[in-house]
Amino acid sequence: MDAGSILLDALDAALGPQAAVYALAAIGLNVHLGYAGLLNLGQAGFMLLGGYGLAVTVVLLSGPLWLGVLVGLGLAAAFAVGVGTPTLRLPAAYLAVVTLVGAEVLRRVIGSRAALALTGGVHGLDGFAEAFYDLNPIPPGDYGLWFLAVGSHRRVWVLLVGWALVVFALLLVRALMRSPRGRTLTALRQDDVAAQSLGKNTFAYKLVGLVLGGVIGAAAGILLAIDQQAVHPVTYLPTATLLAYTALILGGVGRLMGPALGAVVLWFTLTAVDTALNHLGTAGTIDLTQIPPWHVQSAVASLALLVLLLYRPHGLLGTPGHIDETTDPSPPSANVR
């Protein structure tokens, strides 16, 4: 077991495009859970709409890259309105159920045989990302940072754009949540009834919050599609939502930098575990043919999330008690008893 190479791999992944993708997804969830007090269990669905919106527009309609991005973001906004309208006036669990079922149905429909002509069905789509890489101003070659080999000029381009998007999203969220309307949104998370009695349309605020977080999630999906240069139904299983949540809770829900920090730490940890397992496998200590990597990833992440939620729900940066501050607005009383 080479600790050095494990650490290098982990560091490389922690600063890599996948970490940026899940940082974005977690920022979207932070808007939902941390600021608006909504439990969206279908972030994978928003990511899927972003990625497939881009892919279908470019591949099928031969549209330009910017149009594909707009389509992806627009579909996510529509999905948010669709799931939010029947559920935002109800207790929190209803949105959770509808987003979970909705995202899974979306994934199944897009991967179905009937949608083959539109979405590539089970095989997915590819060949839509070249327009992005054509914009690359970095000269060809391999790049590194001191001891860390970052990769080809293509990867550096994705990294730069990805993390720039993360910074942009953070600044956007910061600006919005500090605005008067943003403050209303966070206030109604803590006391919905008080906000209503002041005449605030809490339903509208929550819906806007849901749309905003969902659109950021779609941006994450677009970045993922560009990094992988393909979209595939199996990428958008609820596991994606789980990873985003683990990143969010680990970093600290309700704090601005929480999701970004959480994504970096999570990706570091998951890659370290993965590489360590690989080393054990090649050394013959364990039999790797028996273990599919994706299940190990989600097992580690979900266990971490469980432990965090039970013992330290505020994670690294968060304030204790933040996550318990919401009460459901309508009867029956929904604090767990």
């Binding site: 559920t87 669990a93 149905v105 949540y245 097992a299 039970l310 009867p331 008893r337």
Partner: protein
């Protein structure tokens, strides 16, 4: 209620319209010749509905007593099926007959459910956790169980995919009029109905059932009547876990076992309890039957994936028009009339 009835009628007319359009497309075939297929779809739908109901009833009871939507319930059903599969068909297992294997699996799931209540939900309740934290924990738990079961399935069936139990796998169907059913379908339908009837009887007439209903109505009143609310929660999870596993075994018998069946089951029981009314046991049964028939009848003309869209539409319509569900009273209900606070012997 009238609006809801109209909406459901519209959904069914839509489905019927699809059927007519489909048959009209085939030259020379009429609706009459489609009738056996539709009958088959209805039978399959009722069967699926009953099996889903067995698992859904546990979910709705858990919600009734603790206001928690247990997302892990699908995985508990899958655990039941997988454990029974390992004991029955697994190469490394004891190769038991399906019935003892199922009994062991149900017992194990019931124990796990109780352990979850004692170790997880009781702790969160003691912290005074809000609904966000509790439901986030529920989904984390579900995903954890899903990963563990996925890893286990990969060991048992390295090819992945779907597999049947060793027993009752291949049967010759009987002919009852225009419909063909296998004996195992009939057995499964009867056993599921028996289980559901048993739950209703327990809730209405047994002491434990009355205590469950009391806690569902008002934990404070129940506690002040001398009922141990903590014990009731443990019993609800015992029952819920066992029922989930039973439903999982039934579904494994009729549809086969796979690593992803937990998610598939969840995608059926969640709409079922929402349509029927979260917290209402008869509602869970009615909702499951509706979801089952909508799914199977739609699957006659579209693939199974798209049939789920019809289920989602029904759920969305119910949420929009009658969010508390078809059979729930506005305050959230359980089977039977509310138990008045009466003096009960402290346990």
């Amino acid at each position: 209620m009238v609006r809801l009835g109209v909406a459901v009628l519209v959904c069914w007319l839509g489905l019927a319209g699809m059927a007519v359009a489909e048959t009209g497309a085939d030259a020379g075939s009429g609706l009459a010749s489609e009738l056996p297929r539709i009958m088959r779809g209805l039978i399959d739908g009722i069967r699926l509905g009953l099996l889903v109901a067995v698992a859904a009833v546990g979910l709705t009871l858990i919600f009734a007593t603790s206001r928690l939507v247990s997302f892990a319930h699908g995985e508990l059903a899958a655990l039941g099926a997988l454990l029974a599969f390992f004991l029955n068909t697994g190469v490394l297992g004891p190769q038991l007959h399906l019935i003892p294997a199922a009994v062991i699996a149900i017992f194990a799931a019931a124990v796990l459910g109780t352990a979850l209540e004692l170790g997880v939900w009781r702790r969160l309740r003691a912290y005074g956790s809000g609904p966000l934290r509790v439901h986030a924990t529920a989904i984390a738990l579900a995903m954890f169980l899903h990963s563990i079961l996925g890893l286990a399935w990969f060991r048992l069936m390295p090819g992945g995919a779907l597999a049947p139990f060793h027993d009752y796998a291949v049967q010759r169907p009987l002919l009852l009029g225009p419909i063909r059913v296998t004996p195992r379908d009939l057995v499964v339908i009867s056993l599921a109905s028996l289980a559901l009837a048993g739950v209703l009887v327990i809730l209405r007439h047994s002491r434990v059932g009355k205590m469950m209903r009391a806690v569902a109505d008002s934990p404070d009143l129940a506690a002040s009547s001398g009922i141990s609310v903590q014990a009731v929660h443990a019993h609800v999870w015992l029952l819920g876990g066992g029922l989930a596993a039973l439903g999982g075994v039934f579904l494994g018998v009729t549809d086969g076992i796979s690593a992803v069946m937990g998610l598939r089951v969840l995608a059926l029981i969640l709409p079922a309890v929402i349509v029927g009314g979260l917290g209402s046991v008869p509602g869970a049964i009615v909702g499951s039957l509706m979801v089952g028939t909508v799914a199977e009848v739609s699957a006659l003309w579209v693939s199974a994936d798209l049939a789920l869209v019809a289920v989602l539409v029904v759920m969305a319509v119910v949420l929009q028009l009658r969010p508390q569900g078809l059979l729930a009273r506005s305050g959230g209900a359980t089977a039977g009339p509310p138990v008045r606070a009466m003096r009960m012997k402290a346990r």
